[in-house]
Amino acid sequence: MRGLLAKDGYIIFKQLKFFLVLIVAFAVIPNSSLSGFSIVYTAMLPMTVMAYDEQSKWDKLARMMPYSNRDLVLSKYAVGYIGMMGATLITFISALVCMAFGDGTASERLPAILISMSGGLLLEAIGMPMMLRFGVEKGRILFFIIAIAVTIASIVSNSDSIGRDLHMPAIPGLPLLLLVTAATVVLNLISIAISTRLYRTKEI
């Protein structure tokens, strides 16, 4: 899998420099919603890499190399996870700096990071099987529809005024957030199993 990750890394750093700058810029902006975008955007990295793979018909060759179907699928998820970890880390450091200057408290900022992370994980869990089933072009459209829905939900849940209007707590309690995060992790495990099965039966 290291070889696959190296290949994906070269594609990302060569083709997606602007995208990476955008992710880092959003992550350091002291605004919970924009930081959330940064994390959610990284969930789109695998999709972009898959588009380049599809263009060069890389999978046709890769399946003849000593990579297992599981490795070929997992490497794509890993690209998203690594990206999300990086964006989450930058957002977290940015939040710590903001809090050190008296901008916001841990009880406000940390749940927002957890919500964004769950959103990113949810997008990846839903998006990846769609990409493998329908191809990058059709999968991308479906992915964007879901991404917009998740982003709107994220903004709604992060907005105090809307939350009050909807009689929702502005920031959900930590146990609920941890439960949601755990649920997205489980969803990802199910998604990986589905994607591996889809990939195995897919003929390229």
């Binding site: 290291r2 070889g3 696959l4 190296a6 290949k7 070269y10 594609i11 060569k14 083709q15 380049y52 793979d53 263009q55 060069s56 018909k57 890389w58 046709k60 060759l61 399946r63 003849m64 190399m65 000593p66 990579y67 297992s68 039966t201 003929e203 390229i204």
Partner: protein, 284 residues
């Protein structure tokens, strides 16, 4: 002699095409040329050998291992593949391809790889998308040869190369099979390439194997008979294969079994291309 590849009764159907009951062996240390028109089933056969598509029936053993078994994953370390396109992501450079392959093949040999890069006159830092088709194919061949494979599967690997480079690549393939456990399955449209380098020729036509024979035997067995139409009609059945073609001096030419041609009739050398063209016409 052990077989590097054993294919038995292999079938695979698509909506508009079917590979039917393909059986052939590739003895270790040999080069087998797979020839056939577009859509004859050559690429399908290579995909089935690497188990990347599903078969309807049949079995394939690669270097003694069933290619549907979990052990085949390890056998892939011993197989070098070159497809009709190079298939590397276009942003990669030859140097980056080395890094990717280093983490892919356990016996990846950087020195061998960079020797080929130099020998093929390929730039190390130029993005793959800026390569010509010939350069792309050369890079793919360099990759296939740089992890000490025992079996090479080449699908139109010499396509897009100029005649001089093709000749050099064929020499490299011949050099490769000097080791008795090294074998090559090579599909190509360029029959002269196959005639030059192959020990065995397999001819696929519309998904069926018309023959798989030693090249020298084919060249010994067949000849081009030139005669008048009346003389041709008097020949015993089984002497001539396929349809005839008009010759430049007004008579006809036909592919014939040299051993069955009556003495005194004019027979000339039949190249592999002649044999294939005549037999393909026979099948329609």
């Amino acid at each position: 002699m052990k077989n590097a590849l054993e294919i038995k009764d292999l079938s695979r159907s698509y909506k508009d095409f079917a590979l039917q009951n393909l059986s052939l062996n590739l003895p270790a240390g040999c080069i087998l040329g797979l020839v056939g028109e577009n859509g004859a089933g050559k690429s399908t056969t290579i995909k089935l050998i690497m188990n990347t598509i599903h078969r309807d029936s049949g079995s394939i053993t690669v270097m003694g291992t069933d290619n549907t078994s979990p052990q085949f994953q390890d056998v892939k370390q011993d197989i070098g593949v070159v497809l009709d396109e190079a298939n590397f992501p276009e942003v990669l450079t030859a140097r980056q391809v080395n890094k990717v392959m280093k983490y892919t093949f356990t016996r990846w040999d950087e020195a061998v790889y960079f020797d080929y890069i130099k020998r093929f006159d390929l730039p190390e830092k130029k993005a793959f998308k800026e390569f010509s088709r010939g350069m792309k194919m050369k890079l793919a061949i360099a990759v296939a040869l740089s992890h000490h494979p025992k079996l090479l599967l080449l699908d139109e690997a010499t396509g897009g190369l100029d005649p001089i480079m093709r000749d050099e690549i064929l020499d490299i393939f011949n050099e490769f099979t000097r080791q008795e456990d090294h074998s090559i399955l090579m599909s190509s449209h360029i029959v002269s390439d196959l005639e030059k380098s192959c020990d065995y020729i397999a001819f696929l036509h519309k998904g069926r194997l018309l023959f798989c024979e030693e090249k020298d035997r084919l060249l010994e067995k067949y000849g081009i008979l030139s005669c008048s139409r009346e003389e041709l009609e008097k020949l015993p059945a089984g002497t001539v294969y396929g349809r005839t073609r008009s010759s430049s001096y007004g008579g006809v030419e036909a592919l014939a079994d040299r051993t069955k041609i009556p003495a005194g009739m004019k027979v000339s050398h039949a190249g592999i291309e002649d044999i294939i063209v005549f037999l393909a016409k026979k099948e329609g």
